[in-house]
């Protein structure tokens, strides 16, 4: 709406100055730069922050390792917290075992039925049963093939992680909605939490919490909590002024306004945030397995080890099923929290007690009467071999096409882009970023982003620095960052080119929406580790394999945000267009899309963040860049390398994020 107005005056002097100012400064910098230093390549290798950033982190790591048992903070506080997390998880695992499989199933169905509809309940029943029915030979702990027990372990880990996220996330969200300084401090912290790849902080977490449940939970919380903070904050801040003023007019204190007006009205946003926490947490189940937390991530990693396509796919499917089950149940709970009282299912106190009493009776009979435990082994089967054969068949059929596609794209798109970016003078890039940032968000943003670009280059290690390990590894943050940037650009372009039309299709045609929904759900929660091997089998080790992983992960966001934006266009506007005789396509192109533009900008922004979050996976399929640096840092326990590469990624993410955000968006919707 604002954009439509802004386009009207052709010669807006203030606007012209705003655009020209930064441009003039940018051109001046470029001319001065070329005149003084020529067209230099890349980033100077000698420019290193004192001793090198990786060095600092290595020293910090050394200090923590040597002082672990003597330092009060490390030993008592951190260690004690770890113990609490560990025993909570173990208690939950034991509790689920005690409930028996019948109890868990009935409980899941009852909760789904109480908060939602029959459909939700039946869906939950199917999803929960799948943990028992779909077996994976040799997939469980100690080589068992029943997946019930690993599923319950993952469920317990997720439950603890989600509870901790709620305890941390909602108060932080409230605090940042109420106090601006808190919001300003939290914003970069949340950015770092969301963009810094989990691989970069796994080693410090293991050093602090040792391996197992606590490490897995802490890693999950770090990754999953930001959306809850953001949704809570936005939910509270977007409560309409007039409602708040009405409350104030009746003499409500600030506290009362917050508690009785803002928080209840923000309930839907908070539930949406919680829903996001669940989805994000489930998307890093495999990462938790890397630090020994066990659960459904283990068979995924094991499948990777033996290149067992079917095993990975089935294990990934179980993770997706758990995500869908929890997603549907929590979404129903979210709807219920905001729905009018009249339309709700009403159970009297007596009926409720009967329901819960019935559950208790079922559990007691199952446990003591029938001596049940985990899902019986006989009641399941394995489809691993069939899936393997099917996937092999598909891969073989496609190899010919995919290999030529891969070599074409690598040779003619990715490699040239990469060498172009690599040879591009760093100061010219910084100047361009500065100009764009100035035009988008004013001089302060320009200074921030230019600083980020310069810092990216300075992150590198001194030449010849070999980290703690026993073998050499080349690390230059700038070159690797440019390589990663080329992957991000291509993945992002593919996501937008494919995602936005799909989003429009889902908006226009109900059938397209119905077909896309489960596919997008699937793509969003399927762990990337599952499709690493098929992607390599199709495209070969290298850049395109890396691009594919990021592309797949971020596609759902691009599609969904586009559809949401179009749906937000008000009916009256569309009807006005129709009354002037616009055709459906005219309507879409001339009215709906322009009005939905801020949302589509938001879609671009979200897609960038998700592409950044997943680009680390590119390091696992041979595309190198910062992803490989981060993975190397983790797997060789080189904290300095992992941290420096991770921070470079964060800086890059911040630059891309701030460039894609306009001022209106930042202030208004989140």
């Amino acid at each position: 709406m604002a954009s439509a107005e802004a386009r009207l005056p052709l010669f807006d002097i203030g606007r012209l100055v705003r655009r020209l100012g930064p441009l003039a400064v940018g051109i001046a910098i470029c001319i001065a730069g070329i005149a003084s230093s020529g067209f230099h390549k890349g980033f100077p290798a000698k420019w290193v922050l004192g001793g090198g950033v990786p060095n600092w982190f290595d020293r910090l790591d050394g200090w923590v390792t040597t002082n672990q048992s003597s330092n009060f903070f490390l030993n008592t506080i951190i260690g004690g917290f770890g113990n609490v997390l560990n025993s909570a998880t173990n208690d939950l695992v034991n509790a689920l075992h005690w409930l028996t499989w019948v109890g868990v199933l009935v409980l899941a169905v009852l909760v789904a039925w109480l908060v939602g509809r029959w459909k939700t309940a039946i869906f939950s029943a199917i999803m929960v049963s799948s943990f028992g029915i779909l077996q994976i030979p040799n997939g469980g702990p100690n080589g068992i093939s029943d997946m019930w027990q690993p599923a319950m372990t993952t469920l317990s880990l997720m439950a603890v992680a989600i509870v901790i996220s709620t305890i941390i996330g909602i108060p932080l969200g409230i605090a940042s909605a109420v106090w601006t300084p808190v919001r300003k401090t939290l914003r970069p912290v949340l950015d770092v939490m969301q963009i810094l790849p989990a691989f970069a902080y796994l080693v410090p977490i293991v050093v602090l919490f040792s391996i197992g449940n606590p490490a897995g939970i802490v890693a999950t919380v770090i990754y999953a909590v930001p959306p809850l903070v953001r949704f809570t904050e936005v939910g509270i801040r977007t409560v309409r002024r007039d409602v708040i003023e009405a409350g104030e007019a009746f003499g409500a204190t600030r506290r009362q306004v917050l508690r009785d007006i803002q928080l209840p009205l923000a309930a839907q946003a908070i539930m949406l945030g919680l829903n996001q926490v669940i989805m994000m947490a489930l998307s890093i189940v495999v990462i938790a397995s890397l630090v020994g937390a066990g659960g459904l991530g283990d068979p995924v990693l094991q499948a990777l080890q033996t290149q067992d396509l079917g095993m990975g796919a089935v294990a990934g499917l179980l993770i997706v099923f758990m995500a869908m089950w929890l997603d549907r149940t929590s979404a129903a709970l979210g709807k219920r929290a905001t729905r009018r009282a009249g339309s709700q299912k009403r159970l009297t106190r007596l009926q409720l007690s009967i329901v819960w009493g019935g559950l208790l009776a079922v559990v007691l009979v199952a446990h003591y009467g029938l001596n049940l435990g985990d899902w019986p082994s006989g009641w399941g089967f394995s489809i691993v071999d069939q899936v393997t054969n099917a996937m092999n068949w598909v891969t073989t059929q496609l190899t010919h096409v995919s290999e030529s596609l891969s070599s074409f794209l690598t040779l003619h798109v990715l490699n040239p882009l990469q060498s172009f970016l690599n040879d591009f003078p760093w100061w010219l890039l910084a100047a361009l970023v500065g100009v764009a940032a100035w035009a988008r968000g004013g001089p302060r943003r320009a200074v921030l982003l230019v600083g980020c670009v310069a810092l990216m280059g300075l992150m590198q290690a001194p030449v010849g620095y070999t980290f703690q390990g026993t073998t050499s590894y080349d690390f230059s943050a700038w070159g690797d960052a440019m390589q990663t940037l080329s992957l991000v650009i291509v993945a992002l372009a593919l996501d937008l080119v494919i995602g936005i039309p799909l989003g429009i299709a889902a908006y226009r045609w109900r059938a397209a929406d119905a077909v896309l929904r489960p596919i997008l759900d699937f793509l969003q929660t399927l762990p990337a580790f599952v499709y690493l091997i098929p992607v390599v089998a199709l495209f070969g080790v290298g850049n395109l394999a890396g691009v594919t992983a990021s592309f797949v992960y971020a596609l759902p966001a691009a599609v969904r945000a586009t559809t949401l934006g179009l749906r937000a266009v008000q009916r009256e506007v569309i009807e006005a267009g129709q009354s002037f005789g616009s055709t459906r396509w005219q309507l879409l192109l001339k009215i709906e899309l322009p009005i939905a533009r801020p949302y589509i900008t938001l879609a671009v922004n979200q897609t960038i963040l998700l592409v950044m979050a997943e680009v680390v996976v590119a390091g696992l399929v041979g595309a190198g860049g910062l992803g490989l640096d981060v993975v190397t840092g983790f797997s060789r326990s080189e904290v300095g390398l992992g941290a420096a590469a991770g921070l470079t990624m964060v800086l890059m993410g911040i630059v891309l994020d701030r460039l894609s955000q306009t001022r209106q968006l930042e202030g208004g919707q989140g």
Partner: protein, 343 residues
């Protein structure tokens, strides 16, 4: 206005949800309390602590653990858990007493000195038996076609064979997981070979790439090692690098210009293990077998899809005297000396 206010608070719906939440919490707490009293002892079976063995990311590591698990559970009566974990975190976990042992270590001299020599939190559990051999390999069909590849000088001459879209205009040298011991970036640079080292990032991705080249009989040169069960499926030939010398071993990692040293694979365990589970510690010190033994168990697991128990039982059935010697405390064992190679 009072009405509007009540509307805002949505009292009924919220109360019911609160009710559901409280009930769930009560059930969870009750169940947890019952489970805690019953489960408190679950970390120990018959007063014996549970043994945890680290399974690293290569199949041979699992093969070791499966057989050790079988023997410990069957003959010594301790419960054994296998925990999937990366190599370095496993050292940290052993130092903290949360992991009992690792049965196959390659190199890791800095961890060896940090945790065994200086910290004493981890103890040397002797040699595993197989000698690890890391090096440059090509498929045997390629070696037959280009016999000069048996030496690094041939690779230097033939680099054009290995050009791929990813590495172009240079040739491609395919490395695997960055967690494995590699000097390839330094070797390529110092031997002035026109190859670009591409890390596949995971061994699985590396092997998938090699497999697809193998099927199409394409040229490929890569980092590989023995013992490895895949060597039973594919025929690979080693490329000779300049021989390893003591002088070369003293060079900084970035200056290395010779072959990988021979690795005497070794075992390590938490220093607390000999006190908490003496028979297990005695057995782990004596556990030792050959590359072929390990490859055959790994093959049964990964290719024949046997379960852990089946594969171990099959091995045990055909190696009765070997298992007896592991359990005999008079059997001598070799400590790791000198310490593992590496700078």
């Amino acid at each position: 206005m009072r009405d509007q206010r009540r509307n805002v608070r949505l009292p009924k719906g919220r109360r019911r949800i609160a009710g559901v939440a409280v009930l769930l919490a009560v059930i969870a707490v009750a169940a947890a309390a019952i489970a805690a009293t019953a489960g408190g002892a679950s970390a120990r079976t018959n007063g014996k602590p549970t043994i945890t063995l680290a399974t690293n990311s290569w199949e041979g590591s699992l093969a070791n653990n499966v057989v050790a698990q079988y023997v410990i559970q069957k003959y010594l009566g301790y419960k054994v858990n296998l925990v999937t974990i990366d190599e370095i975190p496993a050292w940290t976990a052993m130092a903290q007493g949360k992991m009992s042992a690792v049965l196959e270590e390659w190199g890791h001299s800095s961890q060896y000195s940090q945790y065994i020599k200086k910290g004493h939190q981890v103890s040397d559990a002797g040699l595993e038996g197989p000698n690890g051999n890391i090096g440059w390999y090509v498929p045997t069909y390629l070696m037959k076609k280009h016999p000069e590849l048996k030496n690094w000088k041939g690779v230097k001459k033939d680099w054009k064979l290995f050009v791929t879209p990813q590495s172009s205009p240079q040739g491609q040298f395919l490395d695997g997981s960055p967690s494995y011991v590699t000097n390839d970036q330094a070797l390529v640079k110092n031997l002035k070979i026109n190859l670009k080292v591409i890390f596949a990032g995971t061994e699985a991705a590396q092997l998938t790439e090699i497999e697809s080249d193998y099927k199409q009989k394409k040229p490929v040169i890569f980092y590989w090692y023995t013992p490895q069960y895949q060597n039973r499926i594919y025929k690979f030939s080693q490329v000779a690098l300049p021989p390893w010398t003591k002088a070369c071993a003293k060079l900084k990692p970035v200056a290395i210009n010779c072959a990988y040293p021979p690795y005497h694979l070794y075992k390590v365990m938490a220093s607390t293990l000999p006190k908490t589970a003496p028979p297990v510690a005695k057995f782990l010190r004596r556990f030792s077998w050959t590359s072929d033994d390990q490859n055959s168990v790994a093959y049964d697991l990964a290719v024949k899809h046997m379960s852990n128990g089946q594969a171990a039982a099959a091995f045990a059935a055909s190696h009765k005297s070997l298992i007896k010697s592991w359990l005999n405390s008079k059997t001598p064992y070799t400590k790791v000396s000198p310490p593992p190679p590496g700078t």
